[in-house]
């Protein structure tokens, strides 16, 4: 089962996210903030999904950290954001893709499936 780490500070979104997928399809680790990643305390997953605005650190900073970290840098990163310009910004931080909020279920599924290998 593919492992996905989701960092999202809004609990409603956080909890809804795994429901988008079949229960036995992916193994979700859900974090409210990114310190565990920055401390290298999490196992390398198959995909990171990071919200742009989270308390503590900016999702973009975490993305940059991942992309510069030996342990994580091979893992694709998808950014989530309510900002319309997220696609550009995410690319500049090294993210592999971005999903603008609010999203549709087919869109989330499509992007996730595209990047998880």
């Amino acid at each position: 089962m593919k492992k996905i780490i989701l960092v999202e500070d809004d609990s409603a979104i956080r909890e809804s996210f795994p429901m988008i997928f079949n229960a036995n399809e992916y193994d979700f680790t859900i974090l409210a903030e990114g310190s565990k990643i920055l401390n290298g305390e999490v196992e390398t997953p198959d995909l990171f999904i990071l919200d742009r605005q989270i308390s503590g650190h900016s999702g973009l900073d975490i993305c940059r950290f991942i992309k510069n970290n030996e342990k994580y840098k091979g893992t694709p990163v998808i950014m989530l954001s309510a900002s319309p310009d997220i696609v550009e910004v995410a690319k500049s931080a090294g993210a592999d893709d971005a999903i603008a909020k609010p999203y549709t279920l087919p869109r989330v599924r499509e992007v996730v499936e595209m990047h998880i290998s």
């Binding site: 809004d10 409603a12 979104i13 809804s16 996210f17 429901m19 988008i20 309510a82 900002s83 319309p84 310009d85 696609v87 550009e88 909020k101 609010p102 999203y103 549709t104 279920l105």
Partner: protein
């Protein structure tokens, strides 16, 4: 000299006494014959009452004949020679004979046109029988005197003149009378020298020659060239003169004339003429005198013109000075020994000065005396104006007076000091208003920025709950469809549609903020518009209540922002649906325009009232006519649509007929024409 010579009058020389007399008589004759004066001895003929009745010439010298033109008159009586001789002369002899004292008169003898100083001296003892008369020619002196008198009189007239025409009339009269001519004329040409105008003085016994004359009739080529070279035209006898158009002048009764031109810069300004009705031999001194008079008239005319212009200027300046609302002051800059400007002194101020400054009685006072030494800006600025000679406009606050002034200061050229003229207005009130306006503008700017920031944050924050609402609703819908609960699934779909609308509104709010912040930041890429069109219509078509027709022509690629262009098409399609009846047709067309790719969306809806056509792309514009249902929306959709097209370098327009429908079209420039 022998005895038989001379002008003997029956003298007998027969005694030594007589001989002595003879010698002295010889001396005497030699004297009187050689002197440069006329001389004669008159015997007085008296009646029984002792009254002089006649005079007989007893002696004369050669000059006497020359002066009087009477020939040899010895032995002849005055009555015989001049039957109508004036009583005036008898009176003189009577007086001389009565008193025995010499007498002297000045007299003009017309026949020889000369002035004489004539002295009468009795010879021998009383009762006096002989009178010696000596004629001294004083013509030259007399003429000079008269000329001087005339010139000084004319000069006086000119100086005291306050009316040019009137003065010239007086000058003409005096000149005419002096020369004893029939006319004295002032001749002035018109601008083209085609005609000239004559103003004359004339003797009472001749008609005027006033009026306008054609140059070509009166001025012969010779006379013209003489005039233009500043030479006088002198005609002694009009009928004998071939240099002028004699017949013309003769027709006017003219017999002789002298015309003196006044020439400046190769053009004659006027001519002064003395004219007689019969021939006359003009003397050189007369011509010279006329020239002198013409010269004086010219000098005076120039001066009068200059004075007149000056007076008019002065009046204009004065009335402006007194009537303007701006304060005006003339002041002198004062420098210290090292040439540093230290103070200024008021020389002149206008009435508005007091109104503008509240200061009275400043003339002659210095800035320091008025306690205006606080701010060296003023003095330094004026010094700069003086040194550069360039006028300066500035606004400055005067601390002492607590007023703002707008000042224009300029240098006044003068040899007598460093003068500056300043014209100024009190702008204290305007300044206050300006400050307030600036403050308000800044406040407004801050508020607008705050508003945009607020909208940006708010719409961002709104999206978070909307995201989870949408996710849960979609999950529920999917699950209901899986269990085939169509009724509940449809209700959830509607919730979802409303969430989408809410999302669109939030996006519009965000986009609007972006536009006011200066642009949406487009990502240009090569794009096939027709493919995008097909996709958008397909997506819309899933839920649509209308039928779509696409007329697509194969088009070249354009450079465009994929997402934004999709947004444009979505907006136009949803507008078309919003404003037209369900089941009506929406026609989308793509074609080649002259400058790019043209996409149009046609609906069969309500159309747009003509008055609103120009406003549909305005921010927050919404159609609000009474006979229409109210349509939801914030009035941002078409505004943002237009902003996106414009940012692509394209254009957007609408054709519409109320009740028939609308066509919204936009054109995107071809790839190579685009500047991104």
């Amino acid at each position: 000299m022998n005895s038989s010579g001379g002008n003997g009058n029956g003298r007998s020389i027969d005694s030594s006494q007589e001989q002595v007399e003879h010698i002295s008589a010889d001396k005497y004759y030699s004297l009187i014959n050689s002197i440069n004066d006329g001389f004669c001895i008159m015997e007085l003929i008296v009646d029984e009452q002792g009254n002089i009745t006649n005079l007989v010439f007893r002696e004369q010298n050669p000059l006497f004949d020359q002066y009087t033109g009477l020939g040899n008159v010895v032995g002849k009586s005055l009555k015989e020679l001049l039957p109508h001789f004036e009583k005036y002369w008898i009176d003189i002899y009577t007086e001389v004979a009565r008193t025995g004292k010499p007498m002297k008169i000045e007299n003009y003898l017309q026949d020889v046109d000369r002035w004489f100083d004539i002295s009468f001296t009795v010879i021998g003892g009383a009762p006096y029988k002989y009178v010696a008369v000596i004629f001294v020619d004083i013509t030259g002196r007399k003429r000079l005197e008269q000329e001087r008198a005339l010139l000084s009189e004319i000069s006086k007239d000119l100086i005291e003149s306050d009316d040019m025409e009137e003065t010239l009339e007086v000058v003409r009269r005096k000149t005419g009378e002096h020369f004893q001519v029939k006319w004295c004329a002032f001749i002035a040409p018109d601008e083209k020298y085609d005609n000239y105008k004559i103003r004359d003085w004339h003797a009472p016994d001749v008609p005027a020659i006033d009026g306008q004359f054609h140059s070509r009739e009166f001025l012969s080529a010779e006379q013209k060239s003489r005039i233009n070279s500043g030479e006088a035209t002198i005609v002694n006898d009009i009928l004998a003169d071939t240099g002028v158009n004699s017949a013309r002048y003769a027709n006017l009764g003219i017999g002789a004339f002298v015309m003196v031109p006044l020439v400046r810069k190769t053009k004659w300004i006027f001519q002064l003429a003395i004219v007689d009705n019969k021939s006359r031999r003009w003397r050189a001194d007369e011509v010279e005198l006329l020239k002198e008079i013409a010269g004086r008239i010219w000098t005076w005319m120039e001066k009068a013109k200059a004075e007149d212009a000056l007076r008019k200027n002065e009046e204009k300046y004065r009335s402006l000075f007194n009537s303007i609302d701006e304060g005006f002051c003339l002041f002198e800059l004062l420098y210290d020994r090292d040439g540093r400007p230290v103070d200024y002194r008021y020389v002149e101020v206008n009435p508005a000065f007091q109104r503008q400054t509240g200061l009275t009685d400043v003339i002659g006072k210095t800035g320091r005396e008025l306690k205006f030494d606080g701010d060296f800006f003023w003095i330094n600025t004026y010094d700069q104006v003086y040194r550069t000679g360039k006028g300066v406009r500035f606004e400055n606050y005067q601390v002492e007076n607590k007023r703002w002034y707008n000042v224009y200061a300029s240098k006044v050229e003068s040899k007598n000091g460093h003068f500056i003229a300043a014209i100024f207005t009190d702008i204290t009130r305007r300044k206050a208003v300006e400050d307030e306006l600036h403050g308000n503008a800044r406040k407004l700017e801050r508020l607008l920025k705050l508003r945009d920031e607020f909208i940006s944050v708010a719409s961002h924050e709104l999206k978070t709950p909307v995201t989870s609402m949408k996710t849960y609703a979609e999950i529920i819908e999917e699950s209901l469809r899986n269990t085939d609960d169509k009724k509940n699934a449809e209700m959830i779909r509607r919730i979802n549609a409303q969430i989408d609308r809410l999302t669109l509104l939030i996006n519009h709010l965000l986009d609007n903020t972006k536009v006011s912040e200066g642009g949406m930041g487009l990502n240009f890429e090569e794009l096939d518009v027709v493919r995008l069109l097909e996709r958008v219509i397909a997506d819309t078509g899933i839920t649509a209540t209308h039928s779509f027709v696409l007329h697509a022509q194969k088009l070249p690629l354009v450079m465009a922002d994929h997402e934004r262009l999709a947004q444009v098409l979505n907006n136009l399609l949803s507008n078309a649906m919003k404003y037209s009846a369900p089941d009506s047709t929406i026609t989308v067309k793509s074609e080649l325009g002259t400058n790019g790719v043209v996409i149009s969306v046609r609906d069969e809806g309500l159309g747009i009232p003509e008055a609103d056509m120009g406003k549909v792309f305005d921010r927050f514009f919404r159609v609000t006519s009474d006979n229409r249902d109210t349509y939801p929306g914030m009035g941002l959709g078409l505004y943002i649509t237009a902003q996106i097209i414009w940012q692509h370098g394209g254009r957007i327009w609408v054709d519409s007929k109320e009740g028939t429908g609308s066509v919204f079209s936009f054109e995107l420039p071809f790839k190579n024409q685009q500047s991104t």
